[in-house]
Symmetry: D3
Subunit: 135 residues, 6 copies
């Protein structure tokens, strides 16, 4: 099996906060990420598709088709957004890198179960990775 990975940058803002905890607990748990008006990041999403190489095209997947899928499913929702305000998913769910990655994986794999891994960088020092097993 050969895995192809493509990278997609996007910019977004967020605030880490949950109504299930007191203000003091939120501050303790999330630190500066709990600042009231939010802050932001240049995120970078890596999407991996695994499979056999098509002998006719020499490709595991059409990069143009993958790019279009990621653009429509992820980037149009997230790029230049405020995660807490613009995404109904994060009305109650805390937009940590982990939860954001889980949601992105769910969106991407609904129509493309051959996506087998995503990696999401929030900063150069903080990233998450999720492997999926079909279907």
């Amino acid at each position: 099996m050969t895995c192809l990975t493509r990278r997609y940058p996007f910019s977004a803002s967020h605030r880490l906060h949950t109504d299930r905890l007191s203000a003091a607990d939120n501050a303790r748990l999330f630190g500066k990420c709990n600042n009231p008006y939010g802050h932001g990041h240049n995120y970078c999403l890596e999407v991996t598709v695994g499979g056999e190489i098509d002998p006719r095209t020499g490709m595991v997947v059409s990069p143009a088709a993958l790019d279009a899928h990621v653009r429509r499913t992820v980037l149009e929702r997230l790029d230049h957004s405020n995660l807490n305000t613009d995404l109904p998913e994060f009305a109650t769910l805390v937009p940590t890198t982990e939860n954001l990655g889980l949601e992105i994986g769910r969106w991407l794999r609904r129509d493309w179960p051959q996506i087998c891994r995503i990696r999401l960088e929030e900063t150069g020092s903080n990233s998450i990775e999720i492997e999926f097993h079909e279907p």
Copy 2:
């Protein structure tokens, strides 16, 4: 003259918008950066000090002193902030990379006129640079 440069990352969110223009003109001018609820970036600030090397220490400037100055003057205000909401400077001034760089330069050079250049990266593809001439 030898120039020493140190890099400082910080995360912030902003919205590009000016009340001097109509909603349509704001959208045309700033594009996605005008999205109502803002978005964010991992900024990276480079601060350059030029001068003679002190023969005793072998340094142009104490890195610890420069770091403390940048932390107190810039990072404590900007890191994990919403530029439009948390910084009075940007109540009316549009928080573009250019204007943010100008403000940072003003803050940094009030006490340290030996700072001769700043460079501010908003993303890996967009940065500004300002050179200063003493005093």
Copy 3:
């Protein structure tokens, strides 16, 4: 098991095109990569060797021996080459990142089956990865 990975940059040109398809289908499938006279990339190859650490040397493998193997087997063939014209392997096989990775893996593992993974970057946004299982 400990895995050691070393990186090797090289530069090459290629054109994505297959005689099995019409000119129109080639253009649709490969886009700009089908331009008649080719284009090129700064590739970066990562080679991973897994194994036990030799208690005497503290190493999984001698880096000098691995470098010599990669130089002779891969870099001397590919660096500063035109993949389509200089490599008989790509007379009929499309030199996509996937196929190039498969060939490199085949060359490298003929004498060194302990190589357990390769990763090949074509650009900062496009890479492939292949894991191997001995022998």
Copy 4:
């Protein structure tokens, strides 16, 4: 004066060779870059515009207008091209990083003399930089 810099990646192939020299002299002068069928690079172009910040927009230049100018003037010609074959400019001129930079500067500044610097990376270890003085 504030300088804004934006980065633009593109891929191209080339061969360093001049008909003014013998085959042996070409080989000695250009080394592997003289290989007959060419090789390629992921180039990265940085374009810098210097000027006053427009007090209304907070910008030195509209990034969208600069991007459109660079796309039309440079990227549409060079991206995924073979410099020697596809560009009449390099029918006789050797497509070194220096000459490519000079041509790019000429194209860009014909309509935009406010462009004051370009930097062109051929690899992470080789780049050129040209400063311009108006007009």
Copy 5:
């Protein structure tokens, strides 16, 4: 399972040498890394924790707690150290990237067995990776 990875840079010096071998064999095996007075690197450690996302916090692990653990267990010992001289572990063990990684893994996992992978970069071209399986 979701994996969270955080990066930690540190600087250290070392000399690759073992008393079990002759001077000539040390020189042949370790090359320039056997130079008598040592040399150094900007190392970068990546620490990965895998687990379920806590539904209350949206996190696999508290980044602040992980940072404190890595700082106390690894960085305070290694940053700005001479591995051969300052670390009793390397009095007889050769401080290769492999052995250094093994030691770091041992230190980190004594109290945190949920750490499932570490990756240690010695230079941009040389790194090791170790996966762990609980407990």
Copy 6:
């Protein structure tokens, strides 16, 4: 004038310490960099040559000649060295990035006064830059 810049990585160790100061003052001034047994870095040197483009070769300078000059003059002395112990220049001079850059510039320009700028990175966050004016 066109400037060509090439990058050269090397690894070295050092200790910041001066006999002109007390132990306490050394510790206060240099912090962790004063640790008795030293530490190290992956340095990266950038060397810039400015000049006219030779119309025959399309180059400001022969990269092969520049590489040979830097290798012989700088890399063979510094790579995998302990700056304090292996370099007589730093028997009394503190091997800060500034002093190391000054020495490198002196070595490089003795025979090549057309070198007009060097930049020396000690870490990704600390670098120095020196411009030279002929002769």
